[in-house]
């Protein structure tokens, strides 16, 4: 056996102190003077980890604090960016990239990084430093998923039993015979649900799985972009983008104001086999009811009571919940622990009324249930007090990740800004 000298023990201690200093010192990191342009609750501060990274969709942070960001458009031919803070100032000094595909979903579980294109899911081994062992050795675990442009982004999350959950968005607004076309009826039953409009479950350790190998874990979900496995409850949670264009398609039932405010954006606690009811129903948070969709005989008044699950939480319409994260860290005050952060990408379907969203929301939880009241946690991404037209928004929040020290990271897919939000007493 090799003799352990005091000096090497000292060196090890020194190195580990140094390492932990780099990744766990939110208290000592100097935030940006303007908190990266964000408005935050008292005690919170923010900085821009990086800017102009590309169209960063979802993000994942490894145990060492390095950020992996999935790009929606290739940057120099690459689709995943790795950002590292090498001097502990909270800002990224190095940026490398790999992978030749675009996409949204990215996640780290154990010693693996998982990343999704708009059709597939790939898996990469990570070494003890949290780095990719071999960038060219991506294992295809899921393949052949539907990609028809509309709602094609694939988001992913993993449970603790060897399963990965993939959202497959419906390439449709309301399952009309002719999509988004006035006067076109809803198809009954909606054939899209066979291969989209739900969450599919696959195994993390099998290769080239597709519909035949996967389980349709939940259905009736139009387009989920935010999803997270809640480890406290051991349950899948998803946020759905509700349907569009009620006024355009049914002006005799919905005026422009109603159409801007309906339907709710929704968060669901999912159990295997659940059906959230798209396209047959939409949720109306002002009534607290599931409403029959007009394409299926609804008139703005008919409710559906018996079928389909209810949301765990409903939000104003069209705000586009793109990122969901259950906070498990200890850095933020205790009330944030096990609560949900949701990144709202911001609406477009409210015109001529001003747009809404473009912020990160916090949903407090008590005893595994949302208390029912959500609050804006981080605002100011758009750089505007009111966003009238979506192209005016300078940044739009999209992905969320928790750092090893409990910092909250937010990605923006307009300019590719990565924000780090910290609690500093």
């Amino acid at each position: 056996m090799k003799k352990v000298t005091p000096i090497s023990v000292f060196a090890c201690l020194f190195i580990s102190v140094l390492l932990s200093a780099i990744s766990t010192s939110a208290q000592n990191i100097k935030p940006d003077a303007d908190n990266a342009g964000l408005t935050l609750p008292t005690g919170f501060a923010a900085l821009k980890v990086a800017d102009n990274v590309g169209r960063t969709r979802h993000i994942a942070v490894n145990k060492q604090g390095a950020i992996y960001a999935k790009l929606e458009r290739l940057d120099n031919g690459k689709g995943i960016v790795v950002l590292k803070d090498t001097d502990g100032d909270g800002r990224a000094e190095t940026k490398t990239s790999f992978a030749n595909y675009i996409g949204t979903g990215i996640a780290i579980k154990g010693n693996y990084l998982y990343a999704a294109s708009n059709k597939e899911v790939f898996k990469y081994a990570l070494n003890e430093n949290g780095d990719i062992v071999d960038e060219n050795a991506a294992a295809t675990i899921v393949t052949g998923l539907i990609d028809k442009g509309q709602h094609n982004s694939k988001s992913i999350t993993l449970d603790n039993a060897g399963n990965i959950y993939v959202n497959i968005g419906a390439p449709s607004n309301a399952c009309q015979e002719k999509d988004r076309t006035k006067g076109s009826m809803g198809m009954m039953p909606c054939p899209i649900l066979d291969s989209a409009g739900g969450i599919w479950q696959f195994k993390v350790d099998q290769f080239n799985q597709s519909y035949a190998n996967g389980v349709r874990y939940a259905t009736g979900l139009r387009n989920v972009v935010g999803l997270d496995w809640n480890n406290q409850l051991n349950q899948l949670f998803v946020t759905q983008h509700g349907r569009d264009m009620l006024n355009n398609l049914y002006p005799e039932i919905y005026d422009t104001t109603l159409s801007a405010e309906l339907p709710s954006e929704t968060m669901y606690a999912i159990n295997k086999g659940d059906n959230a009811g798209w396209p047959y129903v939409y949720y109306d948070h002002s009534k607290g009811k599931k409403m029959m969709a007009p394409e299926y005989g609804g008139d703005g008044k008919k409710t559906v009571e018996d079928k389909f699950i209810n949301p765990a939480m409903a939000f104003p319409a069209h705000m586009a919940p793109n990122g969901l994260l259950f906070y498990t860290g200890n850095q933020f005050p205790a009330r944030y622990k096990n609560g949900a952060f949701i990144a709202f990408h911001g609406s477009w379907n409210r015109s001529p009324l001003p747009q809404e969203g473009y912020y990160v929301v916090f949903v407090p939880y008590e005893n595994g249930k949302p208390t029912g009241k959500w609050e804006v946690f981080a605002n100011g991404f758009s750089g505007k007090t009111v966003v009238k037209n979506p192209r005016d928004a300078q940044h739009r929040p999209c992905g969320l990740a928790e750092g090893p020290d409990g910092s909250l990271y937010v990605s923006d897919d307009v300019k590719g800004t990565i924000y780090r939000i910290m609690y500093q007493k």
């Binding site: 442009g149 709602h151 999509d179 009238k388």
Partner: protein, 139 residues
């Protein structure tokens, strides 16, 4: 002889001034009607400022195609819809544009005239005759 020429020239000038005036009025009326169609059928996606929605719905403001001379293409987009995810001015758009084939020829001329002359766009009007001709070949 000179007098005759003068009279003819004067007559021509005043005639063309009159037609230009009526033309302007006709175009203004077409733009006004086109705006109504736009608000009801297009604004939801292309927005009040014609700026579209980044990555989702193409902008019409400052678009090469909207300001271009290929009217057939524009008429076709409206009658048939557009879901080809073509590259538009260097960008791709994920949403599906529905066919609006319930619109009358005049409404299509109006809405195209509106989008070609609104915001920063400065392209000329689209006439009923043009739409009729193009549309008959589409069927």
């Amino acid at each position: 002889m000179q007098r005759i020429i003068l009279a003819v020239v004067v007559g021509m000038i005043s005639f063309s001034a009159v037609t230009a005036q009526t033309n302007n009025k006709l175009v203004a009326a077409s733009i006004a009607r086109g705006k109504t169609v736009y608000l009801q059928r297009c604004m939801v996606c292309h927005q009040a400022d014609g700026g579209g929605v980044p990555k989702l719905n193409a902008p019409l403001d400052a678009s090469t195609a909207v300001n271009g001379s290929d009217i057939s293409k524009l008429v076709k987009y409206i009658v048939k819809g557009l879901n080809d995810r073509i590259e538009i001015d260097g960008e791709f758009y994920a949403n599906a544009m529905p066919a609006a084939d319930d619109l009358k020829d005049q409404q299509i001329a109006d809405v195209l005239t509106f989008i070609r002359s609104n915001w920063s766009n400065k392209a000329g009007p689209v006439t009923l005759t043009q739409v009729k001709q193009i549309r008959s070949k589409l069927k």
